[in-house]
């Protein structure tokens, strides 16, 4: 009897705690989602926009750069004034020292992101370090792990906020694209570096007559470079159902190569196909 009484009492106490935990706001903490960016078509406006999203998203900058005083509030500060002042600060010994202009700000910003302790704004250093050690993590290392393109995008965003014309380079096709992710089921083999390796990676020879496969499930590709320009070939790969070759059925070719392929791999395949003899 005592057993039943105390168990029922315990149950009701627990139900009260459970009910309360279900009444407060419910938020699930998902792992950061990698943003897929088409680095080929990315212009500077896109870079600034990407930087803004990274600032409050994957970069987790707003965790500290807010109005609570843990780090300079970059969204509220007069950046046009703040950046040149810091570069001119006597304590600053970084690569932009003695320089002025947008390029100097770019160098200062990138340096502050990948080596935050190079210069610590007064009052924001680790406790007891006399502002020589920053509390900020290196953004190119875990857990933030931004790529070069993403660091450039953040720099462009901050330069733009400071009223400067961004000086960072636009990403080239060869650069590690921003959509690189090591999560989920991504293959660990890395991007293919030759056209033949790319064709093998995506099993193109299974259906097409490539590299001596003599397969005929898909259209013959010999001399394709004479019939299609680059844009058309790219479309045929990433949107295979947009136009179906005569005698072949819709839906035979996978339509997710646009998501699977790296830009560099797509370019390698296009160049290879253009050079195929008739």
């Amino acid at each position: 009897m005592t057993f039943a009484r105390v168990m029922i009492f315990s149950l009701f106490t627990l139900l009260a705690f459970t009910a309360f935990s279900n009444l407060v706001p419910q938020v699930q903490g998902d792992p950061p989602q990698e943003e897929k960016v088409d680095t080929v078509s990315l212009d500077m406006a896109g870079m600034i926009s990407l930087g803004e999203r990274l600032f409050s998203g994957k970069g987790t900058c707003t965790l500290c750069h807010n109005n609570l005083g843990r780090a300079p509030d970059l969204l509220e500060l007069d950046l046009a004034k703040a950046f040149p002042e810091r570069i001119a600060d006597a304590r600053y010994e970084g690569i932009a020292k003695g320089k002025t202009g947008a390029k100097a700000v770019e160098e200062y910003l990138i340096e502050s992101m990948i080596d935050p302790s190079k210069y610590v704004v007064t009052g924001f250093g680790k406790k007891g370090s006399n502002d020589t050690i920053s509390q900020m993590p290196k953004v190119d290392a875990a857990p933030v792990s931004l790529s070069k393109v993403e660091i450039d995008a953040l720099t462009a965003f901050l330069q733009d906020k400071a009223g400067l014309t961004p000086t960072v380079p636009l990403p080239s096709a060869e650069e590690a694209p921003a959509e690189k992710s090591d999560s989920d089921d991504e293959e660990e083999q890395g991007p293919a570096t030759t056209a033949v390796a790319a064709l093998e990676k995506y099993n193109c020879g299974t259906c097409h007559d490539l590299e001596g496969s003599e397969a005929d499930l898909g259209p013959k590709l010999k001399g394709i470079g004479k019939k299609m320009d680059n844009a058309k070939i790219i479309e045929a790969i990433i949107k295979p159902n947009a136009e179906i070759a005569q005698g072949y059925e819709e839906g035979t070719m996978p339509d997710d190569f646009g998501e699977q392929m790296r830009v560099s791999e797509l370019n390698l395949i296009v160049e290879y196909l253009k050079k195929l003899p008739e």
Binding site: F17, P25, Q28, P31, P32, D184
Partner: protein, 585 residues
């Protein structure tokens, strides 16, 4: 001795270690160590078995193991103190009670091993890459752990079964030495296990870029969060152990009919409540240290806990701690009826209740709320004009410190209700104690106000004088009482003169403590976000997300209920074991 599968495993591990000591102690060459980078399992690498949710399984077994282990490790800590007290005061009640505490521990020990073994199996089955990596990092320490477990079993059995054989004189000292060895081994076990858990939060001794093992086992062990967690768990275990044996005493009190036995369990319940609160009082300060170290290690991790997705958990934590405070105080107030002079102190209870309830309400007040646009417009912002300021740390620190001070006052009142000081300076002594409370509480409130006007980064620093005030009140009041009540005229304490209602307060403590420990475990694990080993080894399993507070609450409730059912069953067994059928006439 080898009466369960885990002990067989421990025995085999010990044999293996004895035969091949290089497994534990051989130093890895630099070349081998650098080559062993942390694995990067993809989602497909996580075994999926019969649709089971691996994380929930591991979570459940880990919590059950932790609850039982916390209890099993804590009880010998205060049992040996009581045994010592019994020996030097020649009061056998202490000795008998310590022995009885150990009896409950013995029943729970096998279950601890069983859940530990099941947890290990679950982890190796569902997270082979992580466990493989941890074994690379900690190498022979894992075998050492198994060896320590065997030693813990041996010392525990000897300590318990030799109790009556080594009860008096020099033998008692030998017995207490065994107890000391038992506690040393038990604490070492906990520290070793803490090293693995904290390594996953703040890895050290490995290359930050690749996770390759570059340091010694000791380098990985003394990671930044190891000692703060060691201290926090040590104190929490004492509080938890006290709460569980308090529930045992309450169970026996409720089940027993004979007044003399009821009196014994009433006294045991009071002592257990004292132990639980004594362990609990310094716990918030250990918590501050842990959180400060988390911030120092990674500001991002600290903000994730206190200002990010997990921030609401601290409101729930406040509810639980408030519940514990209210229950403990209620029990103490009921206890005033045990003494003839209790009514004299009873008139102050209402004022203490106002402070405890007021502090509780301040603690549960959130700073900001998730509101609709209309609600924000009606409120004039996301923060309430008057209640919003109560949501930030200075108010909460003030509330918790005042709650701790007034809980101590409840204890002091009961203690004094059966003692009349006879020293000539009693009046002056009382005035000093009153002044101590007034000055201390004023300092706590003023430091709290200062917290509002200082920048965010110094708010934690503003809590230090509050903590010092609280501890000063407690320490100096105890010292003055010791001298003032020496040779005091004592009045009878009517043990057993307690309402049944008060015993349920003793049940609230373990239920709230267990749920709170589950909640804190959820927070500690969630701080790693989507990493098995923070910044070193990513969690790519299907459950690599932080569940909502509601989901976590439901899981913790099921685990707590299972644990309470097991413990109450153990209490029932214990009562059954001490009953004897009368010889038929």
């Amino acid at each position: 001795m080898l009466n369960n599968p885990f002990k067989v495993f421990v025995f085999l591990a010990f044999t293996l270690l004895a035969l091949f000591p290089e497994l534990a102690f051989a130093a890895e060459t630099a070349g081998e160590a650098v080559a062993a980078a942390a694995p990067k399992p993809t989602r497909a690498d996580y075994p999926q078995i019969a649709g089971m949710n691996a994380r929930t399984l591991a979570w459940g077994f880990a919590q059950m193991h932790l609850f039982l282990a916390a209890f099993v490790l804590a009880v010998p800590l205060f049992s040996i103190v009581m045994e010592y007290l019994g020996h030097i005061t020649k009061d056998e009640r202490y000795d008998n009670m310590a022995h009885e505490f150990m009896k409950i521990t013995m029943s729970a020990y096998s279950l601890t091993a069983l859940f530990g073994g099941t947890l290990a199996l679950t982890l190796f089955l569902f997270y082979p890459h992580l466990m493989g990596y941890l074994m690379k990092v900690f190498r022979g320490q894992m075998l050492l752990y198994a060896l320590l477990f065997l030693l813990e079993s041996v010392t525990l059995y000897i300590y318990y079964y030799s109790w009556n054989a080594m009860r008096y004189g020099n033998r008692k000292w030998y017995h207490m030495s065994i107890g000391l060895l038992l506690n040393t081994v038990g604490l070492t076990l906990m520290f070793v296990a803490n090293a693995w858990a904290t390594f996953m939060m703040s890895p050290s001794g490995v290359d930050p870029a690749t996770g390759a093992v570059v340091g010694s086992v000791w380098d990985a062990t003394r990671n930044p969060l190891w000692n703060p967690v060691n201290l926090h768990r040590f104190l929490a275990n004492i509080a938890y152990g006290g709460a569980i044996v308090g529930a045992y005493a309450a169970y026996m009190f409720l089940a027993e009919k004979k007044q003399q036995i009821k009196a014994h369990y009433d006294w045991m319940g009071y002592t257990s409540n004292f132990i639980a609160i004594a362990g609990f009082l310094p716990l918030p300060f250990a918590g501050y240290w842990l959180m400060a170290e988390i911030y120092a290690y990674s500001q991002q991790m600290g903000i994730t806990a206190m200002g990010g997705i997990l921030a609401w958990l601290f409101i729930i934590q406040a509810v639980l701690i408030g519940t514990i405070m209210l229950a403990a105080n209620y029990y103490l107030w009921c206890g005033l009826m045990r003494t003839d002079r209790g009514a004299e102190y009873g008139k102050y209870v209402k004022y203490i209740a106002v402070v405890i309830v007021g502090g509780f309400l301040v603690w549960v007040t959130p700073h900001s709320l998730i509101l609709t646009t209309d609600e924000i417009r009606m409120l004039g912002g996301t923060h309430h004009k008057f209640l919003g300021p109560l949501g930030i740390m200075p108010a909460k620190n003030t509330a918790v410190n005042l709650m701790l001070v007034f809980t101590f006052l409840s204890f002091q009142m009961f203690y004094r209700s059966s003692r009349i000081p006879t020293v000539s300076w009693a009046k002056a002594g009382n005035m000093v104690i009153v002044a101590l409370y007034v000055v201390g509480c004023t300092n706590i409130v003023l430091a709290g106000i200062y917290g509002y006007i200082t920048p965010t980064v110094y708010k934690v620093g503003a809590s230090v004088p509050q903590v010092v005030s609280t501890l000063s009140i407690i320490v100096f009041a105890v010292i003055i009482d010791i001298f003032m009540l020496r040779g005091a005229k004592t009045t009878k304490v009517h043990w057993g003169r307690m309402s049944e209602r008060s015993q349920y307060a003793l049940f609230v403590l373990p239920v709230a403590f267990t749920w709170l420990m589950g909640l804190m475990g959820y927070i500690r694990s969630s701080l790693r976000t989507h990493w098995h080993v923070y910044t070193i080894m990513k969690d790519n399993s299907p459950e690599a997300y932080i569940p909502t507070i509601g989901q976590a609450g439901n899981t913790i409730t099921v685990i707590t209920l299972s644990f309470m059912a097991i413990m109450v069953f153990v209490f029932w067994l214990s009562r059954l074991g001490s009953s004897k059928q009368e010889t038929p006439s």
